[in-house]
């Protein structure tokens, strides 16, 4: 059973171009999928040949996801609306370039280039500069003692506390940042990841 499960995951992971088979990715354990996706590279030729060779097997074993992702015009959301919601996905590039940064109490967004920071210290400094506010940086380093917490939204849409995971992993998965008042953060539903590591 476990063996079949592994094979299935490996063949499914090669189905289609990155970003297209979102449904299937979301159905698998996230950590596993992410590791394989980042290591197998995004060579589109590789992915397409993956489709040809593994297509038959996957469809036999698990038909529903394959059908779901290929249904044209479903869900019935008009193309104008699709374009405008897809825009959001494409502008928040994972790991590369600019992420949006918002801060509680400040009614406008900033954008910053994560790639230009070398580590959390750098990030702290950059955030301070961005908002003209000293104290954000402190939040990153010295978690419990300050007014603000820095959280980020990862690839899966979960909000995490910034500073727990290694820097490389952070910039790979950070989609946007938010500087939140500690008092608001308690009810927010942050994922308690990283505590077991």
């Amino acid at each position: 059973m476990e063996k079949d499960g592994l094979e299935l995951e490996i063949t499914e992971l090669r189905l289609g171009l990155p970003g297209r088979d979102v449904t299937e990715k979301m159905m698998k354990k996230r950590g596993f999928t992410e590791m394989i996706m980042t290591s197998s590279g995004s060579n589109s030729e590789q992915c397409e040949s993956g489709v040809v060779s593994s297509g038959v097997d996957v469809e036999k074993v698990n038909e529903t996801p394959a059908v779901k992702t290929q249904v044209v015009g479903w869900p019935p959301v008009c193309s104008y609306r699709r374009k405008n919601s897809c825009k959001e996905v494409s502008t928040t590039k994972v790991g590369l370039g600019y992420v949006k940064v918002s801060m509680d109490g400040v009614p406008y967004l900033r954008k910053m280039d994560l790639g230009s920071s070398q580590g959390y210290d750098d990030l702290a400094f950059a955030l301070d500069k961005l908002f003209g506010f000293h104290g954000i940086g402190v939040a990153l380093k010295d978690g419990d003692n300050c007014e603000y917490v820095t959280i980020y939204e990862d690839k899966d849409g979960d909000w995490m506390l910034a500073g727990d995971v290694p820097w490389g992993m952070f910039i790979e998965s950070c989609r946007r940042l938010r500087i939140m008042k500690r008092s608001e953060a308690t009810g927010f539903g942050l994922q308690p990841r990283g505590l077991d590591e």
Binding site: W74, P75, P76, N84, Y108, L109, R178
Partner: protein, 576 residues
């Protein structure tokens, strides 16, 4: 019948404005037909291929406003290939040649060109109002013609169109002497906007009531615009994120406070989470709120805003509001008439943002609700039965469960009973979209109870031809029937050919109809255009001796017409 002179009858007719009523009047007698003909001001043509411009002009020589619709509804979901049709050019040309004093043109799902817009702008001296919805084929050059030449333009309303943005100076084409603008909506333009020209235009438009900006209008410009137009009633905010300083924010807040006539708010295409609080001072007057493009804003901020909106009648929102958010809506917005909840995640990725609980809460809290569009992950029969009991006044009920064939998630039963309850309770239901796991039974209910139903959308539903037959036999007022991926075939299609004369159109894609069946239908009903849209084969079907028994795995679109086969069909459309 003529106890009064014609002028008196005509004067009475002036009070009758609905198209249906005017159509009825014209059938009373010859004299009324004639009077009505000459006095009809607004003409509505639901399918541009059902009639020709020449016949329109012969019948109604004096109209001022024309509404035309082109592509079928499923074109919105990319089911109709590019180039299928819906060209407005022949209409504009014919109207330009005639002496009709066109003042208003409203187009939906049509192909418009810059040449057409230029011709339009030059041909009608009193042209006042251009409304384009889901159209394509033109650029900002066409808009420049309209701006330059239409001296009396009041409304330029562009909704969800595909416009080639040449980033030109179309806004500066409005002459300096031009001051009659009432509606300006260019939210769908992708490119940069000449902010100086825009501000000057707004500043010299004292009658401006509706202004909807595109992404390229930043925060500080918005503040200046609102300061110029405090009389604004309907505002579409463009981009709400900015690199500017807090002074701009203060200016914006001050400007917003002065807009005491503001009743409708939309846009927020790119929005910071906290931006909405600037609008709190005007929320208590809002009747319409469209935040369905504001993917950046989290549920908690949406809720904070909505808590202030006690007079809301129309709300369009994303499912990120969650069931809890919908409960807030239910307890706050007692005047709510129309609700649309759109999916944030188009791939159905397991985030159960809204469920049947949200829908039930809304139905319980909003007694005036009559229109709903609801995208969700799951539904139950029990919930739908409760909704039907709470809200028997639905006119439009559209439920989209994201996963096809999904049953009641508690009982694993089909959702036949739930939808059955809706059609039984809602005696005024005119529009219905069904989804989830459904058998022929639901169509039995629809045929039996949905006596006022005019439009029905079916996807991935039903078991046999009986399903479709129940609907065709039962729904006497059906006008538009659109079906995809459902097992209905020739027997249902051919059972009552005359039914299609009472309908505007029928769409069937990925069903069980065969080419032979469609051919038989076309033979029996010469007053129908029976189109097979086959984007892959380009008529190879016929050349290769396509078997009559083979399924039409592309699309069938049929519609009644008085002008026969259209001449502008592309090669991939086969008109039988």
């Amino acid at each position: 019948m003529n106890y009064f002179p014609d002028e008196v009858i005509e004067h009475v007719f002036d009070f009758v404005t609905s198209h249906k009523d005017r159509n009825s009047i014209s059938l009373v007698c010859k004299s009324w037909f004639k009077i009505e003909r000459y006095s009809r001001q607004n003409v509505f043509i639901g399918n541009c291929y059902s009639i020709s411009p020449e016949r329109l002009l012969r019948r109604f020589p004096c109209f001022k406003s024309l509404t035309l619709k082109g592509k079928p509804h499923f074109a919105d979901f990319n089911l109709v290939p590019h180039g299928w049709g819906g060209f407005v050019q022949p209409w504009i040309e014919a109207l330009a040649r005639s002496r009709v004093g066109l003042e208003e043109l409203r187009l939906k799902r049509m192909v418009v060109t810059d040449e057409g817009l230029e011709l339009l702008s030059r041909s009608f001296v009193n042209f006042k109002s251009l409304v384009l919805v889901s159209c394509e084929g033109f650029s900002t050059d066409g808009l420049a013609s309209i701006a330059s030449n239409c001296r009396h333009l009041r409304d330029l309303d562009l909704q969800e169109n595909e416009i080639d943005d040449h980033r030109g100076q179309w806004l500066s084409c409005f002459p300096e002497t031009y001051t009659s603008l009432v509606t300006l909506n260019f939210a769908c333009l992708e490119g940069e906007t000449n902010l100086v020209a825009l501000e000057r235009l707004v500043a010299r438009s004292p009658n401006l009531r509706s202004l909807k900006l595109n992404r390229a209008v930043p925060l500080d410009a918005l503040a200046r615009l609102m300061a110029c137009a405090p009389q604004i009633v309907d505002l579409g905010v463009g981009s709400y994120e900015d690199e500017q300083d807090s002074e701009s924010c203060l200016k914006l807040q001050a400007a917003i406070r002065k807009c005491t006539s503001l009743r409708s708010l939309s846009g927020f295409l790119e929005a910071a989470p906290h931006c909405l609080s600037a609008f709190h001072p005007v929320c208590h007057n809002l009747t319409s709120l469209n935040l369905s493009y504001a993917a950046e804003i989290h549920g908690s901020h949406l809720i904070k805003l909505i808590e202030h909106c006690k007079k809301l009648q129309r709300l369009w929102i994303l499912d990120s509001i969650g069931d809890k958010g919908l409960e807030v809506v239910a307890s706050t917005c007692k005047e709510l008439q129309e609700l649309r909840v759109f999916p944030t995640d188009l791939h159905g990725g397991g985030n159960t943002a809204v469920t049947e609980d949200g829908l039930v809460a809304i139905s319980a809290g909003c007694p005036k609700l009559h229109s709903i569009l609801y995208f969700c992950q799951q539904m139950t029969n029990a919930a739908l039965i409760t909704v039907a009991r709470n809200c028997p006044n639905f006119i439009r009920f559209r439920l989209c469960i994201l996963e096809p064939h999904k049953p009641d998630h508690v009982t694993s039963q089909p959702l036949d009973e739930g939808f059955g309850a809706i059609v039984q309770a809602c005696k005024n239901l005119k529009r219905l979209s069904v989804s989830g796991l459904l058998t022929d039974q639901v169509f039995l209910y629809i045929g039996m109870f949905a006596t006022q139903l005019e439009m029905l959308s079916i996807a991935f539903a039903g078991d046999t031809d009986k399903g479709m037959l129940y609907v065709l036999n039962g729904c006497k007022k059906m006008r538009k029937l659109e079906i995809r991926d459902s097992p209905f075939g020739d027997a249902a299609l051919l059972a009552d050919v005359n039914k299609y004369e009472t309908m505007r159109s029928l769409w069937m894609s990925s069903c069980e109809v065969t080419l032979g069946g469609c051919k038989r239908l076309a033979r029996k009903a010469p007053w129908l255009n029976v189109e097979i849209i086959n984007e892959n084969d380009n008529n190879r079907m016929e050349e290769n001796g396509y078997e009559g028994r083979q399924k039409v795995d592309n699309k069938l679109y049929l519609y009644r017409t008085v002008v026969g086969t259209r001449v502008d069909a592309p090669p991939f459309v086969w008109i039988l």
